[in-house]
């Protein structure tokens, strides 16, 4: 050890490293700017709550003046307990490009662009046409701006991915030299005096609560309580209204006949839908984004979807949609043919291709 200053540098670096490993939130400016003493207290408190056995660490001064060996032991204790580097990687991973959604619920629910409104025959004011041309021009320019935005964001994404690559390489380097580390830590532990466990004298660490911010918590609590009351009232109102409306129903022969008829109709529709969407009778698709993971062993959890299954399902959905498209195109062509027939002397030139 090269003297006081070197000691402090190493010790404070270890406190900060431990803080970074133990803090539950991903790295951010606010946390990094905490004072060393505060970080040290938080580290002690977190280690204590995780059951760290060595008392010597709890008794270390928080100014970083000594204790690098104890901190090293604490770090190796954490590393031995769980895959710390992998956990930190998962915390900071870049989700973009790594996930995809499987279900089409959102796409089906959105109404799509409104059908263009066809005017009845009549003189067209050229100003109206100029208006529409101008709108088209604006849309075009906005498209160009969006593409430029996309480029800027893509380059940002590339830089973030590069940083993630560097982190991955660091973890790989760690894994390669891990054996050496453990052998060294064995010798370090050997030089320490054995500890007498004295559970009674364990110091307690109060969690650090910031002075300000209490007001915000109160406000949040009040807001939530008010929201809960509002929701309960709304639920009650709805229930009463529904009972008033549906109170008289459910009885009488004409009601059961109607119910039977509607149930049959619904079953028929469901059957048709199922036929269309679930050719292979696969499991119901869960919603939400799925992460793309490559596995050597081919094992799959019960929430996992195999790529082959997803691909098959999507292909059958595609076939269904293509059939619908062909049907609609046929209808359009029939309508056009009818219009052509209605206007003799008019020449229709279809677009090239297809």
């Amino acid at each position: 050890m090269s003297g006081q200053r070197g000691d402090w540098v190493q010790t404070s670096a270890l406190w900060q490293l431990l803080f970074r490993v133990l803090s539950p939130l991903p790295a951010g400016n606010a946390l990094a700017s905490l004072a060393l003493e505060v970080q040290a207290r938080l580290v002690k408190s977190a280690l204590c709550s995780q059951g760290y056995p060595r008392l010597a660490l709890a008794q270390l001064p928080e100014d970083g003046s000594q204790g690098s060996r104890e901190l090293l032991l604490a770090l190796s204790w954490l590393l031995a307990r769980g895959p710390v580097p992998e956990q930190m990687l998962a915390q900071a991973r870049v989700p973009l490009g790594d996930e995809m959604t499987v279900c089409q619920c959102e796409a089906l629910a959105s109404p799509g662009p409104p059908a263009p409104h066809m005017e009845a025959e009549g003189p067209v004011d050229v100003r109206h046409v100029q208006w529409l041309m101008g709108k088209l021009r604006f849309r075009w320019r906005q498209l160009v701006s969006s593409q430029q935005e996309q480029c800027a964001l893509l380059s940002k994404l590339l830089r973030t991915l590069e940083r993630e690559n560097q982190r991955l390489e660091a973890v790989l380097a760690w894994r390669r030299s891990e054996l050496v580390f453990w052998r060294w830590m064995d010798t370090v532990l050997g030089t320490c005096a054995p500890e007498v466990p004295a559970a009674a004298s364990q110091p307690t660490f109060l969690p650090w609560v910031p002075e300000r911010g209490g007001g915000e918590l109160d406000l949040a609590v009040r807001e939530l309580q008010a929201l809960e009351e509002e929701l309960q009232e709304a639920v009650e109102r709805r229930r009463v209204a529904w009972e008033a409306k549906a109170g008289g129903c459910g009885r009488g022969p004409e009601w059961s006949a109607a119910r039977r008829a509607s149930r049959e109709a619904v079953e028929k529709e469901l059957g048709a839908l199922q036929q269309c969407w679930e050719r292979d009778g696969g499991p119901a698709q869960p919603h939400g984004p799925h992460r793309l993971v490559r596995r050597e062993d081919g094992a799959a959890g019960d929430r996992d979807l195999r790529a082959a299954v997803v691909i098959r399902t999507l292909r059958s959905q595609e076939a269904c949609l293509e059939a619908v498209l062909r049907r609609l195109q046929g209808q359009c062509r029939q309508e056009l043919a009818r219009l052509v027939g209605a206007l003799p002397g008019l020449i229709w030139i279809p677009p090239p291709g297809r």
Partner: protein, 453 residues
């Protein structure tokens, strides 16, 4: 998407400061009448558009300040820094040591080309800071010297170098009894040039805002600062975040683009004006409540009777009977002093905004014959209240509002031109009589187009 503001001349810089100040204090206001999460989304959207973030969290306005003398720019910079809430960028200014004496030609033909490279460099740096850039908001006067001549030159340059980006010019229409004797010349030169290179001209009349200050806000000694604050309030209520059309859970990303697409796609009709309601002093605000029905009724009457504010509206002006053929409708409108619109955009902010009924603005009688209300009228509604007003409504209108004032200015300028008064000041610096004639022609075309609605 971000908007870069270019503040030109004394007018542009003073107004620009008030606009950024109004935007930021509204976004920090705690009386938004909405949840905390909603408020945060609102703040984030406002910040993304108009400010960039610095390390220590003080927002920096996305603005470029240009003036030929340093006094106003220095004042503007220090006022912003003093607020402690926001500031201008360190290298975002361009100024010289001497002014240009209200000479449009000097601003356009001398200052412009001489300082073109430096000014465009600063602008480009500001644009490059934006992750996604939608367009420029250029604040200037049309009758002064530096602001107007240089402004016309800069806008032209922006059109050349950033032809895909949107450009909106916020233009101050001078007092009718203004001090600058050649203000009408400057005005017609500015307007005709801007009509060619800008996408939208948002025109504010000093006279109108002065009246608002006097009658509605009860300000006794009206200073330019008061006028600029009212203006900033109007602009803020247009440009603060609004919900997008597709969903009421996201603030729209490109307000400038959406606004322009709704209001100014036609190249002959680019003049927009703003009407805002209510306006009152803070003291009265606490004691007054409004209903949407009342506010919208006033706003509609302001639109059709060409009123500048919500007092002294001519109640006798009514829309003509619908179903009349276009030509007779036009002459009837003229007799009735009825303001025909091409397109209107109403933005509503505040409590119970979903219940506000805007059917009155969808009346086909309000609009010209070649555009149906479904295409001509749009409304944006947002729950979050604006700047201490529990309910506020703003109308951005492409209509005949400015035809009479424009016609008057053209007439006065023509009279001066006919006697060749002061022309030498312009020809000295390269603005020939032909340029004047071109300007007259194009503006008379604009007046004619608007009159034939």
């Amino acid at each position: 998407m971000s908007i870069v503001t270019v503040q030109l001349g004394q007018c542009g810089n003073q107004i620009g400061f008030e606009v950024f100040d109004a935007l930021l204090s509204d976004s920090h206001s705690s009386q938004g009448l909405c949840s905390m999460r909603e408020n945060e989304a609102y703040q984030a959207s406002c910040k993304e558009r108009f400010f960039s973030e610095e390390e220590n969290g003080v927002p920096i306005a996305r603005a470029v300040l240009v003036d030929m003398e340093p006094k106003v720019i220095n004042q503007t910079l220090s006022k912003a820094a003093q607020s402690g809430q926001w500031k201008y960028g360190q290298h975002a200014c361009f100024c010289q040591k001497q002014g240009s004496g209200n000479n449009w030609a000097y601003g356009y033909s001398v200052h412009g080309p001489r300082h073109e490279e430096s000014i465009m460099n600063i602008i480009r740096k500001e644009v490059e800071k934006c992750d996604s850039f939608s367009g420029f908001f250029i604040i200037m006067s049309m009758a002064g010297g530096t602001g107007s001549g240089l402004g016309a030159f800069v806008t032209q340059n922006l059109e050349d170098q950033y032809s895909n980006s949107l450009k909106m010019n916020q233009i101050i229409w001078p007092y009718g009894t203004g001090e600058v004797i050649v203000q009408n010349y400057n005005s017609i030169l500015t307007l005709s040039h801007l009509y060619r290179s800008s996408d939208a001209l948002l025109l504010h009349e000093n006279d109108a805002i002065h009246k608002i200050c006097a009658k509605l806000m009860n300000i006794k000694q009206i200073s330019f600062s008061d006028i600029n604050q009212v203006l900033a309030h109007q602009l803020g209520s247009v440009f603060q975040p609004t919900y997008s059309a597709e969903s009421s859970f996201h603030y729209r990303r490109n307000p400038l683009g959406d606004l322009m697409e709704h209001l100014v796609p036609h190249p002959e009709f680019k003049m927009l004006s703003v009407r805002n309601i209510p306006h009152m002093s803070e003291n009265s605000l606490a004691y007054t409540t409004f209903t949407w029905a009342g506010l919208l009724k006033h706003l509609r009457q302001m639109l059709i009777s060409n009123a500048k504010m919500e007092e002294g509206i001519d109640r006798h002006v009514r829309p003509p009977l619908s179903g009349l053929p276009p030509l007779s409708k036009m002459s009837l409108n003229k007799d009735l002093h009825f303001n025909t619109s091409i397109a209107n955009l109403v933005i509503l902010r505040g409590k119970d905004v979903q219940s506000a009924d805007v059917e009155g603005f969808k009346d086909p009688a309000l609009y010209t014959s070649w555009l149906k209300p479904v295409n001509a009228f749009n409304v944006w509604k947002t729950q979050r209240a604006f700047s201490k007003y529990e309910k506020s409504a703003v109308l951005v209108s492409n209509s005949q509002f400015l035809v009479k004032p424009l016609d008057m200015i053209v007439g006065k300028a023509w009279n001066m031109f006919a006697s060749k008064a002061y022309i030498h000041q312009y020809t000295k610096f390269g603005i020939e009589e032909e340029d004047f004639l071109d300007s007259f022609t194009s503006l008379e075309q604009v007046v004619a187009s608007y009159c034939n609605l």
